[in-house]
Symmetry: C2
C-alpha cells in the first residue's frame, strides 16, 4: 500500500506476522500484529511522563570530518544513517493501548515506519557557535516523543563554525537509560579510522564477534556489550518490578533518620521545585589529566574531583543568585557495584548500579576543604553501601534508575526537605579514539531527565582523555544554566591551586 518515499526501500517490521496473498484488511492486520509486553519499569517511565517531564534521554556527539571530506559529506552521512535496510526491533516498536490489549500498554511494531521522521538533517543558525548548538539541543530535548511512533529521533546537525558535525539523539527512557543509549551509539563506532561501511546505530546487524570479554578492557569493552546485556545489567528488566515499594520504605527511613549513613537532610534550594517542560542544556569537557593531577596531589579520586568541581560551580552559581542555603547541598551519586555486592548483577559483567548520598560541602568557601569533605562523604557512603543488604541496595539502585517513578510516590513537591538536591552521575566511557566511517568522535555529552523536585541533572562521562560534563535543567527553574560552565572552569583552576599543581 504505502509507497517508499523517494524511491527508498520501505521497512518491514521484524516481529510482524502477516497473512499470505494480497494482505488482509487493516483490522485483521492489526489483530495479527505481534504485540509484546512492556516491563513494569518501562511502563512506569511511560506513565510518569507528562508535558513538564518528558522521559527521554539524549546524547550529543561531535565528529570531525575525515581528511578530504567533500562538500556533501554531511549529507552523505545523513543518507547513510537514514537509508537502513532493516531496523533493530528496539527502534521499530511503539507503545500501544486499546480495548483489544485489555487496556494494558504493550509494544507494537510500527507498520508504517518512516525513517525520515526519525533521522533528520538539521542545521544551525549563524554564527554556528556552540551556543547555537546547545540552543537547538535544548529545544529538541524539550519536546516529547509521540507514542504513536517508535520512541526515538536522531538529528545530524551541520553548521558549526569549526566544521564539526553534531549528532543529537533522543531515546525514550522506556527503551534505554541514558548510559545505555550512549553506549549503543558508541557500539557502532570503531577504533579504526580507515574502516568504512559501518552501520547506523539503529540498524539491525548481525552481532559482531567479541574479540575479548568485556571485563578485560574496561575502556574498550563497554562498546562490545550487546544492548540486551546492557539493559539487563543496568536493571532495566522485569526483575525490577517490585522495586518502588521497597525503595520508598528504605528512603522514608533515611529521610526520618538524621544519623543514617546513606541519607542526609538536604536543604531546600531552587533546584527542588516543580519544573516546566522547557529545557536548557550546556556541555563542556576538561582534560582528564588535569583532574587526575589534582586527585593525585590530594589523595582523592578523579570522581571526587568531579564532585568537587560540581560543588564549587553550584556554590558560585547559587551565590550569584543570592540563593545559597546555609546547609550543604546533598547529591545523589549512582555508583557501580561489583558482582559480590549486587545479587542482581548480570552474568555479562556486573554493571549494576547503587547510589550514594554525598554532602557537597557547599557551605565551605575553601575549594581544598570542599574536596576533602566530599572525599570523606563519598567514602562513608560507599562504606555504608557495602554494609547494606541486597534489598536495600536494590532499593537504592532504583534511585538511579527510576527517580521519576519515585518522585510522585514521595510527593516530592510537598515534603519540606527533599531527600537530596540533585543527581550527579559520572560514568566511564571509552578511553581510545573512535570513528564512524572515518569521522573522528571528538566529544560525547549526555542529556538527562530533570524531574519535579530535581530541576538540574549533571551527568559526566569520560572519553579519549577528556571528562565531559552534560548539564540538563529546566530552563525556567534553573536560570542561566550555561553559567555553570564558567564556574566549573573556575573551580578546576581553584582546585589546581589548592592542590599545588597549577
Amino acid at each position: 500500500m504505502a509507497r517508499g518515499g523517494r524511491g527508498r526501500r520501505t521497512f518491514s517490521p521484524v516481529a510482524l506476522v502477516t497473512l499470505g496473498g494480497g494482505g488482509p484488511p487493516a483490522s485483521a492486520r492489526e489483530r495479527l500484529t505481534v504485540v509484546s509486553p512492556i516491563d513494569p519499569t518501562s511502563t512506569g517511565f511511560l506513565l510518569a511522563e507528562n508535558r513538564n517531564m518528558p522521559m527521554h534521554v539524549g546524547g550529543l556527539q561531535l565528529f570531525e570530518k575525515p581528511d578530504g571530506a567533500g562538500d556533501d559529506y554531511i549529507r552523505e552521512m545523513y543518507e547513510a544513517m537514514s537509508d537502513v535496510d532493516e531496523l533493530a526491533p528496539l527502534f521499530l516498536k511503539h507503545p500501544y493501548r486499546s480495548v483489544r490489549t485489555g487496556g494494558q500498554l504493550v509494544w507494537k511494531p510500527d507498520l508504517q515506519f518512516d525513517a525520515h521522521h526519525h533521522v533528520r538533517h538539521s542545521a544551525l543558525p549563524a554564527p554556528g557557535r556552540y551556543r547555537e548548538l546547545f540552543d537547538l539541543c535544548s529545544r529538541l530535548h524539550s519536546t516529547r516523543l509521540a507514542w504513536e511512533r517508535p520512541l526515538w529521533e536522531s538529528h545530524i546537525i551541520e553548521g558549526l563554525a569549526d566544521g564539526r558535525v553534531a549528532l543529537y539523539t533522543k531515546t525514550h527512557h522506556a527503551l534505554v537509560d541514558g548510559i545505555s543509549a550512549m553506549r549503543l551509539l558508541q557500539s557502532v563506532l570503531s577504533t579504526d579510522p580507515d574502516r568504512r561501511g559501518m552501520p547506523a546505530p539503529w540498524a539491525a546487524t548481525p552481532s559482531k564477534p567479541r574479540s575479548s570479554p568485556p571485563a578485560a578492557d574496561p575502556g574498550h569493552g563497554l562498546t562490545d556489550i550487546p544492548i540486551s546485556a546492557l539493559r539487563s545489567a543496568l536493571g532495566l528488566t522485569a526483575e525490577a518490578a517490585g522495586l518502588p515499594g521497597a525503595l520508598v520504605r528504605t528512603l522514608s527511613q533515611g529521610v526520618r533518620n538524621e544519623t543514617s549513613a546513606v541519607s542526609f537532610h538536604a536543604p531546600r534550594t531552587i533546584f527542588n521545585q516543580s519544573i516546566t517542560g522547557a529545557r536548557r542544556f550546556a556541555a563542556e569537557d576538561w582534560p582528564t589529566e588535569r583532574l587526575r593531577a589534582i586527585g593525585k596531589a590530594t589523595g582523592t579520586t578523579i570522581n571526587d574531583v568531579v564532585m568537587a568541581m560540581c560543588s564549587g560551580a553550584i556554590r558560585a552559581y547559587l551565590i550569584e543568585l543570592d540563593a545559597l542555603p546555609a546547609a550543604p547541598l546533598v547529591a545523589m551519586v549512582p555508583v557501580g557495584l561489583n558482582a559480590k555486592q549486587s545479587q542482581h548483577a548480570s552474568a555479562d559483567g556486573g554493571n549494576a548500579v547503587g547510589a550514594v548520598m554525598v554532602q557537597l560541602a557547599t557551605d565551605r568557601s575553601d575549594p581544598g576543604e570542599r574536596l576533602r569533605a566530599i572525599h570523606d562523604s563519598m567514602a562513608a557512603g560507599k562504606e555504608a553501601l557495602s554494609s547494606m543488604t541486597p534489598v536495600q541496595i536494590m532499593a537504592m539502585s532504583a534511585l538511579g534508575q527510576a527517580p521519576m517513578i519515585l518522585a510522585p510516590l514521595l510527593r516530592m513537591q510537598g515534603i519540606v526537605r527533599p531527600p537530596y538536591n540533585l543527581i550527579i552521575s559520572n560514568v566511564p566511557g571509552p578511553r581510545t579514539t573512535h570513528y564512524w566511517n572515518g569521522a573522528r568522535l571528538v566529544g560525547t555529552y549526555p542529556l538527562s531527565i530533570p524531574i519535579n523536585g530535581m530541576a538540574l541533572n549533571i551527568t559526566c562521562t569520560s572519553y579519549d582523555g577528556q571528562m565531559a560534563f552534560g548539564l540538563t535543567g529546566c530552563r525556567r527553574t534553573v536560570p542561566h544554566l550555561q553559567r555553570l560552565l564558567g564556574h566549573l572552569e573556575n573551580e578546576v583552576v581553584a582546585l589546581e591551586r589548592a592542590a599545588g599543581v597549577a
Copy 2:
C-alpha cells in the same frame, strides 16, 4: 513560580482568573482557570486527527532583507517575533479534557506558555536551495501539534543561498483554516517599507483603526479584516454545528445520482488511497500576467487557467507513473459566494465559501481543449450552485471546511468511487507589495491537509502579481510530488502556445 527563561518576561494568560495573595495551590488554580467551549466543527477537527492525518494548516512566507540589514538581522527578527508581551487568546489556548469537564473537550489557557517552544529559529543544511527548504517544511508539516500546548508553531528559517528569510507557520485547523491563517500572518504586514515596530502575528495588539471597509479594496481589504470576523465569515463558528449531517445527505445524493450537476463519478486514482503521516511539500509561483494573457486570448478566467495548469500537470505526472485513468479526474473547487447566495455570510463582508465539482478533462491530450472543457465544467458548476438551496450550499460549503470530518463518515476508503479526486483551491491575496519591519514579502505559499482518500491538495494564492501554487501530499502515496512543479511550468508554456500568446 516559573521563572522567565533568559530573563524574558513570562506570559500571563489573558483569560485566567486567579485568587489574590500568594497564589493558590495548583489544584485550586486549575479549578479557577476559565475554560471555554470548543465549537463542534473545531472539535471535529481535533477528534478526526491521528498520526496519519495531522489537522494543521501551514504557510510558508519568503522575505527579502531590507537594504543594510546586518549579520544579525534574522536573529533580531526571531527575537522580535518571540519576545511578545502579551499573546492573542487564540495562541494561548489548548484543548483539554478531564473528568472535571465531564469528558468534554474544552479550551484552556496555557498556564506555562513557553514562547521558545512556539517560535523557533531554524536553519537549512547546505547548499540552501529551495529543495532543502521544502524538505524542512515537509518534515515540520508531518509532525502533529501536541494538544498539551497551544496549537501552533512558527519557524524563522535562515540559510537560503539567495539570502532570503523563510517563515514557516503551522496552526491547527481547530483554530483557523488555511486561508485565515495566511491572512492572519498578512494582517500584521504593512505596505510601507519604512515602517518599524510592527508586532508578531500572535501578539495581542489593540485593533488598528480601519481606514476603509474591507469590501472597498478586495486586494487590500483582506488584510484589514480582524481574525474574529474572518473566522465567522469562513463558517468556523458554532453556527456550523449541524453541517455534517446535512452534508452527508446531500453528498450521498450526489454520489448516487450520475446526472447531478454538482457531482460526477470520479475515477479511482493513486490519490484516492489511505495515506500515511509523511508529507511532501513543493511550491512555486508564476506571474499572474502570463495566466491573464492566456485567459484573455481564450475567453476564460485566470481561475480556469489555474485549473487547466493543474489538470495538465496531473495528467503528465500520472502518465509518467503509468497511472492515468481513462475517465477524467474530478476536482473539488471551493468558490466564494456573494452575500445574496449565502444566508450565513457574515455581516463583515461575505466571505462564505461554496464548492463546485470540476471535471479536469485529463482524458484529453490537447491543452487548449482541456482549458475549454474546464471552463465549461466550472461555469456549469457555478450555475448549479446558484440554483441550490441555502441548505445545499451550506452542505457543499462544509466540503471545503471539513473534508476530514466527511471522509470517515463516508468511509471513503471503502467506497468504490471517490466523490472527487483532489481538492484545488485558489484564493486571492493582497495585490500590493507588503513588508514586515522593512523586510519585503516576496512570496507566500499555503500548506494544506491531505486526508485519507485525498492524498494530494493544491492550494493557490495570488500576491503582488504572482500566482503561487502550494502542493501538499502524502510522501508515500504521491511519490516525487515535486515533479508536478516542472509539469506546471510545461503546461503554462503549452497553454500559451495553444492560446497564441507565446
